[in-house]
Symmetry: C2
Subunit: 258 residues, 2 copies
DNA sequence: GTAATCTGCGTATGACATACGCTGTAATGC
DNA sequence: GCATTACAGCGTATGTCATACGCAGATTAC
């Protein structure tokens, strides 16, 4: 195994939030036994988020879900943001199966992206949580591992591989957010997502009617083909652009060394 | 001009937030004269955000900046979110000059993305504001126009053009957010951004030391070339992947019709 | 057995967005 | 010109929220 060759700081001090997420925080050895576990807190937070959306996830609401007093939660997590981070990591769950032997990098990375999208769609509240930084919690790291594994042997350098994974991940998140916002606006106004989209175009048409917006006007006059799977097509378009761009580089690398 | 051919609903009811942003809300004709303008409110909000970050932008803080009472602000904007939306649109400013005659789509879109990135870097507080939906406010629409204009004549369909613009925009925003978070973490902990990044890798190495993470281990063992412009290279890598992917499609389109 | 540490929780604090209503100002209609 | 209408500014108030603090009791270590 390579890791002994890594300049591995066994004594690296982990920030409390990370130690908490990985179960590395010191367990208390004195005092009364805890009535709850961190897992229960996280599960309760997720239940509230799923049922009532992220704005409902207050410390008091989660405590109520568990039948304890609000301030008890602070015995388990230092801040609410820590709880949210744990909720996200748990809600994401473990990643889809990694790239199989004989499976190309592109199908593997596509599967990875689609599983990522599925998780985000399953838990639309995730998009409202402020991001805490690069992937570091247990499931995040597992997802990162499998994303990187899809790119092994492609000739991409390490920095390029992680940039690629972050690029795909960023696109997936962006797309999931946009469609979730659309669905939420529809639910809030009693419309369908298509109707919400149509209203956007109508507003845009009205606002740009009298100004110098030739490219937008051209866009608005083009046939709006109402294909059934417009959203699926758009998802595939964007992912395809990203993966085509990666493929271009991989092929250029392969051609540069015969 | 094409717009008369658009099924243009002149009587489309604009939501109040949009009407406000475009100066289309009815002006009051009775009552005392206003002591402030909406522009002044927005400018005050931006000043506070720039000086103290987004968490400081409360209605009372902005009112204090203007020397008025908190509740006065609600005579000008219905909600705080409306003020934040206006602040973003104003802070973004007008877009960079559009694609010039003879300028290719790729250099034009690259310039567009880089101007977009510059705006986001100039105003790092923007990333913390919850997004309100697709581009609809005045400057947003101008940016959209110029992004679309860069892609005219490429053979991409309308839906593909706007998807491309959103793809580039999403990547730019994602990248700007990541680097801004890094810079902020550095400032908060008295480190350099490189030091913050190193700590992340150290944490990752520690946490994955004893688990099945071969792809991450491989990544950690690769030469970490400390090139001066690592961040610039990473930005260019990601944008290049996206634009290569777009270029692949444009060339395939051109080849499909001789 | 004593000291130390922890759990659960009640009380409290400061901050925040915004509802409500009062007084005074300015425009409109008759 | 006056009454009515609508608005501006702002003081007061409300409910919600994250979290600090401290108390009493439970549990462990020495």
């Amino acid at each position: 195994m390579d890791s002994p060759d890594v300049e591995l700081p066994e004594n690296v001090e982990l920030p409390e939030s990370i130690a908490l997420a990985w179960g590395l925080r010191n367990r208390p050895s004195r005092g009364p036994k805890r009535s709850l576990s961190l897992t229960q807190l996280v599960a309760a937070g997720i239940r509230v988020a799923q049922a009532e959306g992220l704005p409902a996830v207050s410390m008091s609401r989660v405590a109520s879900e568990l039948g304890v007093a609000t301030m008890s939660l602070y015995r388990y997590v230092p801040t609410k943001q820590d709880l949210l981070d744990l909720m996200i990591d748990t809600a994401f769950g473990p990643p889809a199966p990694p790239r199989a032997p004989g499976e190309g990098w592109r199908p593997a990375l596509t599967r990875w992206a689609e599983a990522n999208l599925a998780a985000l769609r399953r838990e639309p509240w995730i998009r409202h949580v402020p991001l805490s930084g690069p992937p570091i919690n247990p499931n995040q790291v597992r997802w990162l591992e499998y994303g990187l594994a899809a790119l092994r042997g492609t000739g991409l350098r390490g920095a390029e591989r992680i940039s690629t994974v972050m690029l795909v991940s960023g696109y997936t998140r962006s797309w999931a957010n946009t469609t979730a916002d659309l669905a939420e606006a529809a639910a809030r106004t009693g419309q369908t997502p298509d109707e919400v989209g149509q209203h956007y175009w109508q507003h845009l048409a009205r606002l740009t009617a009298s100004g110098p917006y030739p490219a937008i006007h051209e866009l608005l006059t083009e046939a709006d083909d109402e294909e059934e799977d417009y959203y699926d097509a758009e998802w595939r378009f964007g992912l395809g652009r990203v993966l085509d761009g990666v493929e271009t580089l991989i092929q250029a690398r392969a051609a540069a060394q015969p």
